[in-house]
Subunit: 349 residues, 2 copies
C-alpha cells in the first residue's frame, strides 16, 4: 500500500482516485483555493461535481489550511492542478517536500517562459523544486489518451508515464496499474510533452473540417480529416525530433493515441467547427470566451509556430515542412478564412 | 492531355473520372459483366447509381464487347475492379496491353494464394501480366484515405501512389493531381498494401468499443478506442517491417490516415459494433451476410494472423508483440466474447 496525496481537486486528479483506491492505496485529497466549492461538494455528497461520479469512500479530504498535514509521509504527490497553477502550488508545497517523494503530474504540454524559452511542464515543475531537492525528487508525467470521466468509470485506459528517472516511473506504474488502467513507461519526456501540447492544436484542424462540410454542403469530409490526421502526426514527429524527442513516441499512445482521443470531441474541435463554418478566428475565440471555455489548442499553435520559426532561423528546418502548422497559424493568428487556407493547402508530395 | 481507360465501373474507378476530367483528360469507361446495370444507368442518367452523383459529360462509355476498343491507344489503364475480379479482368485485358502503358489500380491489400503464400495486390496484377510485358508495364497502386463519394464531390483528398517504378508513379501523379486531389509518391508498395489490408481488420476493434460501451452503460469509450488506434498503428508497422516495408509509411496517409478514415464509419465498424454489443462473431458475420455486406477486415485479420504465425515460426517475432491482432483473431475466428478478451487485454508496457 502506498501513501498518496492528490494536490488539486480537478477532474483528472480526482478521477485517478479510482485506480488508486482499487489498488488499496491510502489517498489524501487537498484542493487549492479555486477548488473549495468542489471540495465542499465532495465532502457533502462524495461526488465530484464536474465528473458527476462518486469518489472512493476511503478518500481523506483536507481543508485549505491543511496542505502540510495532507503531504505528510506521502511517497507520491499527484499534482492535479492545471498548468497555469503549477508554479504557485509548487511554491506552497516546497517546504513540505522530502527526498524520496515522487511528483506525478497530470498537466501536459509546453510552457513559454517570459524570455521566449519553451520548456516542458515537467521542466516547469523541476525548476520550481527547492534547489537542494532537485536531484532527489523525480517528476513523472502522465501522457497518452485519457479522458478523466472514463478513467473514473473504469473504461479501459492506457497511459504513458514519462520520466527522466525510469525507475521512478516504474515504481509509479506499480502503484497506479489496475486491470482497467494500464501504464507504459518511457524516458522520452520531450516526445510525450510535445505530442500532448500540439495534438490540441492540430485537433482544431479536424474540427474545421466539421465546420467546412456544412459550408460546402457535403455530408462528410473524412478524406480531408484523415489527411490532416496523418499530416499532424508527421509534423508533431518532426518538431519532437527537433527538440530531442523520439519519432516512435508519436506512433504510440502519447502521439496518435492522444490525437485520436482529442479529435473525438472537446473544445478544440468546437473552436475548429466554428471557424470552419465561416467565423473568423477572433470571433470564434470570443464566442468560446463567452462560453467560458479555454481552448488549449490555440496557444499550442502559437508556441509550435514560434518553435518552428526558431528552428528555421537556425537552419534546422524549413517552414514548408510544416504546412499544416503554418496554415493553422495563419487562420488562428491572422484571421485568414479557413476554407481559403485549407482548400489551397499543399502538403508534402 | 492523357488518354485513360477505366476498367470496371465500381465506385472508386468512377469517382476518379472527376479529377481526371477536371484535368481535361480523355476518359473511356468499360464495365465488367457485373457492372452492366450500373453502365445502363450511367448511359441513361449520366449518374453513377451507387455514388448518386453525376459523372463528367465527356466520359466515353463502352459496351461489354468493346474492351479491346476501349483500351486502344490508352496510356493509363485504371483498374477499378474489386480484388476478387482482378485475375479474370487481367486475363481479358492481356491481349490488348502494350509496352509503355501503365496500370493504376484502386483495389488495395493482401491476397492469399492457394499454397498459403501472401502477396500484395500489385503483385497479383504483375503476375497476371503476359510474360513478355512484365518488365514493360509498371503497376501503380493507390493507397491512403479516400472515400469514393468524397473524391467525386471534390472534397480535398490526399492519396499515395506506390510503385516499384517511381517514374511511373510520378507520371501518374501529374495526370491525376488537381487542387482537390493531391498525390504523394512512394516506392514502399509493401508498406502501403500492408496498411491498406490491416487497417480494415483493426477498425473492427474500434467498432467493438462502440458496441461495448452500450453493454457497459457508459457514454463513451474514447480512451479504449484511442489505445487500440495507437496499438493498431504499432502492430501494422511491425508486420510491415517484417515483410520489408517501412515504418514511416505507417505514420503517413497510407497508415494512420487510412486507419482514421476507416474508423469513421463503414462495414468493419458495423461488424465490430455488433460483436462488441454481445453477439458472437459467427452470428454477427451471418447478420452482415444477410445485409449483403462484405467485411474486408474479417479476412484481413485471418491473413495478418497467419502471416504473424509464420514470422513467429521462423523466430522473427513473438505473437505477444501483436496482442491486439491475437485478441481480434480469437474473437473473430474462435468466437471468444469481445468484452472478456478486450477487457483483459495486456498491451506492451
Amino acid at each position: 500500500m502506498a501513501k498518496v496525496v492528490i494536490v488539486g481537486a480537478g477532474v483528472m486528479g480526482s478521477a485517478l482516485t479510482i485506480p488508486l483506491a482499487d489498488n488499496g492505496h491510502e489517498i489524501n485529497l487537498w484542493g487549492t483555493k479555486y477548488d473549495q466549492e468542489v471540495m465542499r461538494s465532495i465532502r457533502k455528497t462524495r461526488t465530484h461535481p464536474c465528473l458527476g461520479l462518486a469518489l472512493p469512500g476511503s478518500l481523506h479530504l483536507f481543508a485549505l489550511d491543511e496542505l502540510a498535514h495532507s503531504v505528510e509521509e506521502r511517497e507520491i504527490i499527484l499534482l492535479g492542478v492545471a498548468s497555469g497553477g503549477i508554479k504557485s502550488v509548487m511554491e506552497m508545497l516546497g517546504p513540505f517536500l522530502k527526498p524520496g517523494m515522487v511528483i506525478v503530474n497530470v498537466a501536459k504540454g509546453l510552457e513559454e517562459m517570459g524570455d521566449g524559452e519553451i520548456i516542458t511542464i515537467p521542466q516547469v515543475i523541476a525548476r520550481a523544486l527547492p534547489q537542494q531537492l532537485r536531484s532527489h525528487i523525480p517528476v513523472v508525467a502522465i501522457g497518452g489518451p485519457s479522458k478523466a470521466r472514463e478513467v473514473a468509470q473504469r473504461v479501459p485506459t492506457s497511459v504513458v508515464f514519462a520520466s527522466s528517472s525510469v525507475r521512478a516511473a516504474q515504481r509509479c506504474r506499480k502503484i497506479f496499474t489496475t486491470p482497467r488502467y494500464t501504464v507504459q513507461v518511457t524516458s522520452d519526456v520531450i516526445g510525450v510533452e510535445v505530442g500532448a501540447a500540439l495534438k490540441n492544436g492540430y485537433a482544431i484542424a479536424l474540427g474545421m473540417c466539421d465546420g467546412l462540410k456544412k459550408r460546402e454542403g457535403v455530408e462528410t469530409m473524412n478524406n480531408t480529416k484523415s489527411t490532416f490526421f496523418a499530416q499532424a502526426a508527421q509534423e508533431i514527429a518532426l518538431l519532437s525530433r527537433m527538440l530531442g524527442g523520439r519519432s516512435s513516441t508519436v506512433m504510440g499512445l502519447a502521439g496518435v493515441g492522444d490525437l485520436y482521443v482529442t479529435s473525438a470531441e472537446g473544445r478544440n474541435i468546437t473552436l475548429g467547427e466554428l471557424i470552419g463554418s465561416g467565423l473568423p478566428a477572433f470571433q470564434a475565440l470570443e464566442e468560446m470566451r463567452k462560453r467560458r471555455e479555454t481552448v488549449e489548442g490555440y496557444p499550442a499553435i502559437g508556441i509550435g509556430y514560434r518553435l518552428a520559426r526558431k528552428f528555421e532561423d537556425s537552419g534546422k528546418l524549413r517552414m514548408n515542412q510544416l504546412p499544416l502548422l503554418k496554415a493553422l497559424w495563419s487562420i488562428l493568428y491572422e484571421d485568414k478564412p479557413a476554407h481559403e487556407v485549407l482548400f489551397s493547402l499543399r502538403l508534402m508530395a
